[in-house]
Symmetry: C2
Subunit: 231 residues, 2 copies
């Protein structure tokens, strides 16, 4: 929830997609190089690498764009978000926030969420290529329903982001088939309707060959009013 907002703010300080990392100043005396996690690493399976290459090809004509992904928000993003949407009394300490990490990137490489997202502006579609590691287990051998919900929340959130800063109001998820651990699946989301500040986004998770529908979901996002406080 609210991820799209954070992501949008985060992208203010983000590098172009082709740049492997970004340098942000956390404190006046400290520089931190932020790794872009939306790029292949040794834990990626052959399937994930092949899909990644296919989508990178689609990016060449500009119809699709790969989204960079970071573990931490730059402090200016944190400050801007807190200033715009959070009451001063409930602002988290900057020092503490510097230790915070984006949930979907907080697990060790290969053991948690391995994914990369691509956006098609013309079609208002966000596609996420996802490989669920061994630390995402629900029941033996399968990805946890909460981890699946996380991927749906992230992918639909990024799809909403293209329309403006928004927050998740509802996620409705149908679990149809369990997703085997360490397999690669495709999360497809699309803006289906807008009504004023409401954004309706559909999402499904399929096998690479599109023969298996694992999950289908709908998400409702509400565009944020900068004058409206969250806390």
């Amino acid at each position: 929830m609210l991820r799209s907002c954070a992501t949008r703010l985060r992208t203010l300080g983000a590098p172009p997609a082709k740049q492997p990392g970004a340098v942000w100043r956390l404190f006046s005396s400290e520089k931190v190089i932020h790794k872009d996690y939306g790029l292949p690493n040794p834990s990626w399976s052959k399937d994930l690498r092949l899909l990644f290459d296919q989508f990178m090809k689609k990016c060449e004509d500009g119809s699709w764009k790969r989204l960079p992904s970071y573990r931490q928000n730059p402090v200016q993003t944190f400050k801007e978000f807190q200033t715009r949407f959070v009451d001063p009394g409930s602002v988290t300490k900057e020092e503490q926030m510097s230790k915070a990490q984006q949930f979907s990137r907080s697990l060790e490489e290969g053991l948690g969420f391995e994914y990369v997202m691509f956006y098609n502006k013309g079609e208002k579609r966000m596609v996420c290529l996802f490989q669920g590691g061994l630390h995402l287990q629900g029941v033996p051998g399968f990805v946890h329903g909460g981890a699946i919900a996380t991927m749906i929340d992230i992918t639909t959130g990024m799809c909403a982001l293209a329309e403006g800063v928004a927050m998740t109001a509802n996620l409705n998820i149908d679990y149809k088939k369990p997703i085997p651990l360490c397999s690669v699946v495709v999360v497809n989301s699309k803006l289906s309707k807008t009504e004023g500040r409401k954004l309706f986004i559909s999402c499904d998770i399929q096998s690479i060959d599109e023969k298996t529908l694992y999950t289908s979901a709908t998400a409702l996002f509400i565009k944020l009013d900068p004058d409206k406080r969250l806390t």
Copy 2:
């Protein structure tokens, strides 16, 4: 999803609630002591400890029971689950599975999901006391919507478990207010209706003082038929 099933199978090998850990044989030559994560650790805030103590008191007359919680399933649980519900062709290797971890316990102590669950059999209620760490961040300062969905999935799943081995068919989540990182909230779930193999469970997340409703949700679980394969 399917967590309740795994949990039930896991509890086959689980120790009584008061025992701090369990010893399981992973391989013929290897013994592993499994820590019970449903007990206080140094990362627990004063609020979480106070609530824990209150519920432990409620356990004294037997109306409530604390649930133990582990990071890994014993291999017999894995084998039993795979044998009962998974086609032989798609069984994950035992050696690989020994490295798998329960998603909600896979993050470092204090940085991820800190929680303990209590069950009231008479009321068919499962309560989860939850403190979301700094690595569960969605937007700056708040718990990720996927992490919230995970807690709802786990709590309703454990509530369903009391009725039998079941899998999540649907989660419908309304995000009403963002949950601040490092705060303690109470996840309340209750079996509201059963229709044949369908279990309808309601769930909400509130502040300790019950003045703030952060999230409300419904979950549908389907009791599993041992003859029906998942893959």
